[in-house]
Amino acid sequence: MTDGTVVDAGRPAGAFARLMKRKMAVVGLVLIAVVVLGAVLAPLIAPYAPDEQLFDGLTLEGAPLPPDATFIFGTDLLGRDLFTRILYGAQTSLIIGVVANGLALLIGTVVGIVAGYFRGWVGSVLMRFTDLMMAFPALLLAICLAAIFQPSLWIVAMVIALVNWVQTARVIYTETTSLATRDFIAAERTLGAGTGRILFKHILPHLVPTIIVWGTLGISTTVLLEATLSFLGVGVQPPTPSWGNIIFENQTYFQAAPWLVFIPGAAIILLALAFNLVGDALRDVLDPTQRGRD
């Protein structure tokens, strides 16, 4: 017996407290906070308007300016301040990387778990549908949507969620099939646990590491995917910046103006990394077999 009051302390709080004890997790949370604040407060912090093509932002030959005292991140090919665009771009990229990606992750996980657990015809149907979605040319769908709807951030978020769950579903499916054969699941069934409970209380926690991997890596890929879709006309249209767009527009210039590629690239990596730090720590905190490790 410990001090006797441990009972019902409510583990979520405990988990959070434990999370806060980890340096890396705190670093991650701080980074996320910085990005979110940057995005929200962009109009206040940014030195310029995001679409302002500054006269002195280009050389006479029309070349962008490297980072210096005035333009701390340099300027882009239209003479706009990159720092400003990165700040504003964070808004778009956060929505894509966090919301759209999160939604895709959610759909994928649910489909994967359900299909992997039930197998039988339910699983078959779900997985064949997943195969279908995977085999289906997503870009084409994007182009069509672009033509049908007014391009907007929400359309692109929807498309990404619609397209990106597939891979997660596949991986989760395979892992679930394996988990479902484990004895403790059988034990759980004999206790009378309903399917939902088994799926979400007993199988899901074991998938957390995988989900974290896909979730955090998904941030990078969806942010870049957004750029491709916007390029095809589905997403945000110029001059609205997003981190993916900035890279995409400028990638051929990476030798002539490396800052235009590497700075937004670093921003994406940083965001993904931040989530990963938190995710990893969370996973360790939630994973009992890792107790005692710092």
Binding site: E61, I143, T252, Q255
Partner: protein, 517 residues
């Protein structure tokens, strides 16, 4: 007036040319791409041709021609002894067959429309054109339904190339993969999606050309990489020119800059304003837009690879109105015009633009310029096909033409009018994206094109000049700039620069270039 190659020109050798996009077809009736345009020119010949590196017409397979005084009958006398690559001699029948083939709807030639002035065009079918008659083994008489001053240019188009019937019949739909012509080169090898090899046609009817033994085309090559390979000595001519991303670097390095060739181009980049849509149906608004665009800034953005445009025609095009100032950049004036039109508070509209660099950037520059006079432009940056569709359907208020650009098919002012500014193209699906249709100007244009008499050239050009200034008064377009071509060639390449920026044999005239060693 014909071309004399440099005395240093030597025969022999092989060069490598790269392109990004695959070569779709080498069928002269169908090929209409950047990369196959000049290839087809080297494999085939038409009755007419251009002096290399210039826009001057010269006879091709026709040794000479006669035009009837009313300008309706053209009689071509063909060269004797011209052989197809399959060894057969070319005859007048082949000319008739070829013109019949290209205008037959079953061929689905994108160039069929150019032959609209030939009598019987509207009834064209498998039996050929009634206006083309064989009057001797080597004479062809072509009768027009209306005088057409551009007809000789049309006869110099790839679409008018002479092809042997038996080869077409044999290859069937695959003629584009197994081309047989009379040109300076013949196709030796084609590995789909990878490379094509052209070998010198030893029997070529023009003495002394081509100089090269073979030309190797490598397709699927990223322009940036092509440049790297050029520096490495693996590539002689990067067919897609210098990519924008590399431009500064190349020009800033004297060693590389020495290999750069600059030339004019029959190109205009413009914004269409849909005159059928409010508020662009208001001339003042269109003028205001014209005045609001800071063309110098846009040229700066594309690294000065263009000159600001004042009118639809590019400066190197005959008929260009020298000294015409167009609409000067004048923000205040533009605002005032808008205010006059009752739109002092501006308005919101959309501009379609093709999604490849640098077009979205140019669009954003335009967007900013228009924002300065209160017009809020939303950019729709889409794939080429979607933009063309929106333009044709007339649903796009504004379109930036870049990327789908108008490079002239032939160096004649009429080429900039018909489909893109005339009433003919203003219908649903037509390429006249501003849907501009002015009957009076159309009549004037028809008149100009009827002036087939070579003696009236000056007069005709004046007429065209009037047509285009007339267009500018109505301001359905904002001509933004005329692009210049910057390309490169390797050390070993010989022949004057004009051959590498040939205004007609775009991008390179393979028949006349040569290698030094």
């Amino acid at each position: 007036q014909d071309y004399t190659p440099s005395p240093d020109a030597k025969a022999g050798g092989s060069i490598t040319v790269t392109y990004k996009d695959d070569v779709a077809t080498l069928d002269p009736a169908i090929g209409y791409d950047w990369q196959n345009w000049s290839m087809i020119k080297s494999l085939f010949d038409g009755l007419m041709d251009y002096v290399p590196g210039t826009t001057e017409l010269r006879p091709g397979l026709a040794e000479s021609y006669e035009i009837s005084p009313d300008g309706l009958v053209y009689t071509f006398k063909l060269r004797a002894g011209v052989k197809f690559h399959n060894g057969r001699e070319m005859t007048a029948e082949d000319v008739k067959y070829s013109l019949g083939r290209v205008t037959d709807p079953a061929t689905q030639s994108p160039g069929a429309g150019f032959f609209g002035s030939i009598a019987g065009f509207d009834a064209a079918g498998p039996d050929g054109l009634s206006g083309v008659e064989v009057t001797g083994p080597l004479t062809v008489k072509i009768t027009l339904s209306r005088p057409d001053a551009t007809f000789l240019h049309v006869m110099a188009l790839n679409f008018a190339s002479v092809v042997p019937k038996e080869a077409v019949d044999e290859a069937g739909a695959d003629f584009g993969k197994k081309p047989v012509g009379t040109g300076a080169y013949k196709l030796e090898e084609w590995t789909l999606g990878q490379r094509l090899v052209f070998a010198k046609n030893a029997d070529y009817w023009r003495a002394g050309v081509p100089f090269l033994d073979s030309v190797v085309f490598e397709v699927g090559q990223e322009p940036v990489v092509a440049l790297l390979r050029l520096q490495n000595g693996e590539v002689d001519v990067p067919g897609d020119g210098i990519p924008p991303a590399k431009f500064q670097e190349v020009m800033g390095d004297p060693a590389q800059a020495a290999h750069v060739v600059v030339g004019g181009q029959l190109h205009t980049g413009y914004i269409t304003l849909n005159v059928k849509m409010a508020p662009f149906d208001n001339l003042d608004v269109r003028k205001a837009v014209n005045m609001a665009i800071n063309k110098d800034r846009i040229v700066q953005i594309i690294n000065g690879r263009a000159v600001p445009a004042t009118q639809p025609l590019p400066p190197s095009m005959p008929g260009y109105t020298e000294g015409y100032a167009g609409y000067a950049y004048d923000v205040e004036g533009a605002k005032k015009l808008l205010a006059d039109a009752g739109l002092a508070d501006g308005f919101e509209t959309e501009m379609y633009v093709m999604n490849t660099d640098p077009n979205p950037r140019i669009a954003q520059a335009i967007q900013q310029d228009l924002a300065a006079i209160g017009i809020k432009v939303n950019i729709q940056s889409l794939a080429q096909a979607n933009v063309i569709e929106a333009g044709g359907a007339g649903t796009a208020p504004m379109i930036w033409s870049g990327g789908m650009a108008w490079i002239a098919d032939f160096p004649d002012p009429s080429n900039f009018y018909g489909p893109i500014l005339g009433c003919a193209g203003a219908g649903d699906g037509g390429w006249n994206w501003s849907k501009f249709c002015d009957e009076a100007l159309d009549a004037k244009a028809t008149e100009a094109d009827s002036m087939a008499d070579p003696a009236k050239v000056e007069e005709r050009l004046k007429l065209w000049s009037d047509v285009y200034t007339g267009v500018m008064e109505q301001a359905p377009w904002v001509p933004v700039f005329n692009e210049e071509r910057y390309t490169m060639k390797s050390d070993r390449m010989g022949g004057e620069d004009a051959l590498y920026v040939d205004p007609v044999s775009i991008p390179v005239n393979y028949d006349y270039v040569w290698v030094k060693q």
